[in-house]
């Protein structure tokens, strides 16, 4: 059981704990704490959608995120499986194989940031990396404070979006790291509509015109074909933000992720808000078409 594991003084140096993570956010946090995960689900897609920290080649791929391959894990069970809310049915059965701990920063009753902090501390406790976790949290706090200082005078409201296809975006709001950044800094979210359990709403691009003065931040990657199709999207091309060069593009990061993703988002937002964005949005549009 997991309690037995936590009580035993884990000798991290002599025998590194072998951790399997079903959730990309947990995988990201493990890497941030300096733990090389033993197995992670769906690594090819992790590399596309989360990107950083990059996954070591030695980590095992254990299949789909909501159905990690148990036959694989059973042959050389890890010392701990960190399961997720998406994959949490029937843990009693898994516990005969290895200790299992449900770790997730969504589906809690706390705010995203609170939940992510306690997730990080929980992972650190289980892997005996408390100092590293406190350092990471410290670092995140500093990044957030720096971001807050830098963004103090930014008045322009902001849409943070990720494209689903050329006509639809996920616009982020309350309930994930974008919400955290908006509440911790002076930034205003231009999206005030309802959001779902993961803190986003699926909308068509014309609704980005509801706040004409807003700046738009696009999280990459684009789904296939979107870069091309956007050139024909007259709404997108006519949005004041696009016409007046107030659109910025940031590298792939996992908006539902952990503190590293949060820091990356904070830095990216500061970058794009302070520095004038690339005027030639067309080049950014066609750049790096994503093909996993």
């Amino acid at each position: 059981m997991s309690t037995a594991l936590a009580d035993a003084p884990a000798d991290a140096d002599s025998k590194p704990l072998r951790i399997a993570a079903a959730n990309w956010t947990v995988a990201e946090t493990l890497l941030a704490l300096g733990v090389q995960p033993y197995a992670v689900a769906d690594i090819p897609n992790y590399s596309t959608w989360v990107e950083k920290p990059s996954m070591p080649a030695s980590t095992l791929d254990m299949g789909l995120r909501n159905e990690p391959n148990l036959e694989l894990l059973a042959q050389d069970p890890p010392d701990l499986l960190m399961s997720s809310a998406l994959f949490s049915r029937d843990n009693a059965r898994l516990e005969r194989l290895m200790p299992v701990k449900m770790i997730d920063n969504f589906y809690t009753d706390r705010s995203f940031y609170e939940a992510t902090l306690s997730m990080t501390r929980e992972i650190a406790r289980l892997t005996d990396r408390e100092p590293q976790a406190e350092a990471l949290i410290e670092q995140t706090e500093r990044t957030l404070e720096r971001a807050a200082r830098a963004l103090k005078d930014v008045e322009t409201p902001l849409y943070v979006v990720q494209f689903s296809d050329a006509q639809h975006v996920r616009v982020f709001g309350h309930g994930n790291m974008v919400g955290t950044l908006f509440s911790r800094t002076g930034l205003n979210n231009a999206w005030t509509g309802p959001t779902n359990a993961w803190g986003y709403a699926s909308i068509s691009t014309d609704r980005l015109a509801e706040q004409p003065d807003a700046r738009i931040v696009v999280i990459k990657p684009y789904p296939r074909g979107v870069g091309e199709a956007l050139k024909d999207n007259q709404i997108w091309q006519h949005l004041p933000a696009v016409r007046e060069g107030r659109v910025s593009y940031i590298d792939p990061l996992w908006p539902y992720g952990g503190l590293i993703s949060l820091q990356r988002l904070a830095r990216s937002l500061v970058d794009v808000s302070i520095r004038p964005p690339t005027t030639d949005s067309a080049t950014a549009t066609s750049a790096e078409e994503h093909t996993p």
Binding site: M62, L72, D90, D165, N196
Partner: protein, 664 residues
């Protein structure tokens, strides 16, 4: 239906509804532009984003909805005329899902082709689906019900392949969920121009064909004597319909049932000649899609998820199809007392049963022992040794046992249904009983009810019972004519398909779990749960065996059976209850789409098991054999990624079903 009415009244009603909803949308969404509406539509000010939005989204969306609806109705009308089949339509002939699958495959593996012209890829997919449907119904000389049955099976099969692809490409295909469920959002005039041009061309060509096509209303010989090449005429008419459908699918995605509903309503409300039917179908089709889309737009501001118009029309279309069925005059065959496949009676079925049993045991053993082994960081396929007993007992045995039990139950349910109805294509999956279970479970998931431990099975059972009631009510008057019965079942299944599309497009967090359950994964089988399901399977199978007297006598027809002392009503009711129980238990663990219930009894008969007892046992063994193999393939084909067993079984079983259809 009374013929005093004219489609005009229906059209006027829909127009008023559309005007009302349209005005409401304008008033709510574009109140700030009031007074400038016309100017915004015709000459928007480039610097006024609100005018741009109105010019590039609201107006093209209205037009695309009308053009798309009209185009699908035109396609449906042409298909119905050419095939002289009131149930033909782009969706029921499998053309839409063929086009969709082609586009998904192209997006994944040949994105550059998409730039060359989506409609040609969609057209290729549509043509493949059409050819497949024709190949399947050729022997029955394209009999209306057989054509539609083949079409819907092809359609369900293609959407099973689609599900498999989606399981592996969740993140990068989220846009395809949206498109696949028919969202009509517009951002330029391209789609409008695209559809207008193609609709115009097809309309002109259809006009040229109007006279010869209307001669098809005469008896075939009459038309022939007028010197028309029927084959060329049919080819041209059908080709136009398929092309029109491909254009709509590539422009705006999957829109269900408009192509079936609009011509049917036009006909039922009094449009007589082909010209009348074409015109009224297009008007009604345009209005139907427009009204649905405007209603969907009204709801959009209140939710964080997308409401897909196309899936909504499909969900509304399934009940419509059920309602239309008894009202349409469809030439169907009588129930045939002796079942379809005739194979030479072979001797010694007992010996072959033992051989089959042996084979099943071997398959189970292989499924338990052969798998991927892990050696530090390399994986390779290998035999498990005695040291790996824990692995086998804990992680392979429950899945193998669950698959076997589900296969057994579905096979027995299928055998019961086929013998009881004297219909060689009857099975829990094809008759929509499994879909009923799934609809019940999805409803449970979506309703904000507390989840009691057994609620899944209770809702599933209610779903199965409702599906059975629908089957009985819709078919009692026709005396359970086989094709009509099957079509009812397929309509229930397509309702499930629409619900699935809506849930997937909503990006509900539970959608992935749902997708994996609908695919029929044995992933969550544990020793305890598999013990239960095995016990249930054995008990229900043991209950079915003593019923062999009924199963022998019922296929002879009710009067004969009665004369031989069978209480027909009571026996049917008991058998149906048993079928419902078997289906619920199997569907809850293996999902609704596996085709085992159809396939196993057939294979049993092909192997020469004709007697009721032999067929029951043979089918049961075959069901276990196929399901265990499917589960093994799903676990190992893409190790460590796993495909659900039900999906693999459906892909195997679908081929078998199509093959069986040829001989229906």
């Amino acid at each position: 239906m009374t013929s005093a009415r004219s489609p005009a009244w229906f059209a006027i009603g829909l127009t008023l509804l559309a005007l009302g909803l349209g005005y409401a949308t304008l008033d709510i969404q574009f109140a700030d532009l009031s007074g400038h509406w016309w100017q915004a539509i015709t000459t928007p000010d480039d610097d006024q984003i609100r005018q741009i939005v109105m010019h590039y989204t609201f107006v093209p969306r209205l037009l695309v909805a009308m053009l798309g609806g009209a185009a699908l109705a035109l396609a449906g009308c042409l298909m119905q005329q050419v095939l002289r089949n009131p149930l033909a339509s782009p969706a029921t002939l499998g053309v839409t899902s063929g086009a969709q699958l082609a586009l998904v495959v192209a997006t994944l593996w040949a994105p550059s082709w998409m730039l060359a012209g989506k409609e040609w890829i969609a057209l290729a997919g549509g043509i493949v689906a059409t050819l497949l449907v024709f190949a399947l119904s050729w022997k029955r000389r394209l009999a209306p019900m057989v054509v539609v049955l083949s079409g819907m099976v092809v359609s369900l099969y293609f959407s099973a392949i689609n599900s498999a692809l989606l399981l592996f490409h969740q993140e990068s295909l989220s846009g395809l969920f949206i498109w696949g469920s028919g969202a009509l959002a517009q951002d330029n005039w391209h789609d409008t121009q695209f559809l207008l041009l193609r609709l115009g061309i097809v309309m002109v060509l259809a006009l040229l064909l109007l006279r010869p096509l209307s001669l098809l209303d005469l008896e075939e010989d009459g038309a022939k004597s007028l010197g028309i090449s029927l084959r060329k005429l049919r080819f041209a008419g059908l080709g136009l319909g398929v092309f029109m459908t491909a254009c709509v699918v590539s422009a705006i995605g999957l829109i269900g049932f408009i192509g079936l509903a609009a011509p049917a309503i036009a006909r039922l409300s009094g449009a007589r000649t082909l010209a009348q039917r074409l015109v009224w179908s297009m008007i009604l089709g345009a209005l139907l899609l427009l009204v649905t889309d405007l209603a969907v737009q009204q709801l959009a501001p209140f939710t964080a998820s997308l409401l897909p118009t196309g899936a909504m029309t499909a969900a509304l279309g399934a009940p419509l199809l059920l309602w239309l069925l008894p009202r349409l005059k469809i030439g169907g065959s009588r129930p045939t007392p002796s079942t379809g496949l005739t194979m030479p009676r072979q001797s010694a079925p007992n010996r072959r049963l033992w051989m089959l049993g042996g084979l099943t045991v071997v398959a189970c053993a292989v499924a338990l022992v052969v798998g991927f082994m892990l050696d530090s960081h390399a994986r390779y396929p290998s035999l498990a040794g005695i040291d790996d007993l824990g692995l086998i007992v804990d992680w392979r045995l429950p899945r193998v046992a669950t698959a076997a039990a589900a296969g057994l139950m579905l096979a027995i349910a299928g055998t019961l249904l086929q013998r009881m109805t004297g219909n060689p294509m009857a099975s829990p999956e094809v008759l929509g009983i499994s879909a009923g279970v799934a609809i019940g479970v999805i409803a449970l998931m979506l309703l904000p009810l507390g989840i009691a431990p057994l609620s899944g099975s209770v809702m599933g059972f209610s779903g199965a019972v409702v599906a059975l009631l629908v089957l009985i009510i819709c078919n009692r008057r026709s005396g359970f004519a086989p094709e009509r019965l099957l079509l009812t079942g397929i309509a229930i299944s397509s309702l499930l398909d629409a619900m699935r599309a809506i849930v997937l497009a909503s990006e509900d967090p539970r959608a992935q779990q749902l997708l994996s359950w609908l695919g029929g994964s044995t992933y969550y089988a544990s020793l305890t749960s598999s013990t239960w399901i095995v016990v249930i399977a054995i008990v229900l199978a043991a209950m079915a065996l003593p019923l062999q007297r009924w199963l022998t006598l019922l296929p002879l027809g009710a009067p004969t059976a009665k004369a031989l002392g069978v209480d027909v009503d009571r026996s049917r009711l008991l058998l149906l209850a048993l079928v419902a129980l078997l289906t619920v238990a199997a569907t809850l663990v293996i999902g609704p789409l596996s085709f085992i219930g159809l396939m196993a009894p057939h294979m049993a008969r092909l192997m020469g098991f004709h007697g009721a007892r032999h067929q029951l046992i043979g089918a049961g063994l075959l069901g276990m054999l196929v399901m265990v193999s499917a589960d093994w393939l799903g676990r190992n084909l893409f190790f460590p990624y796993q495909l659900p067993a039900g999906l693999i079984a459906a892909l195997i079983g679908g081929v078998y079903f199509m093959w069986g259809l040829r001989r229906l």
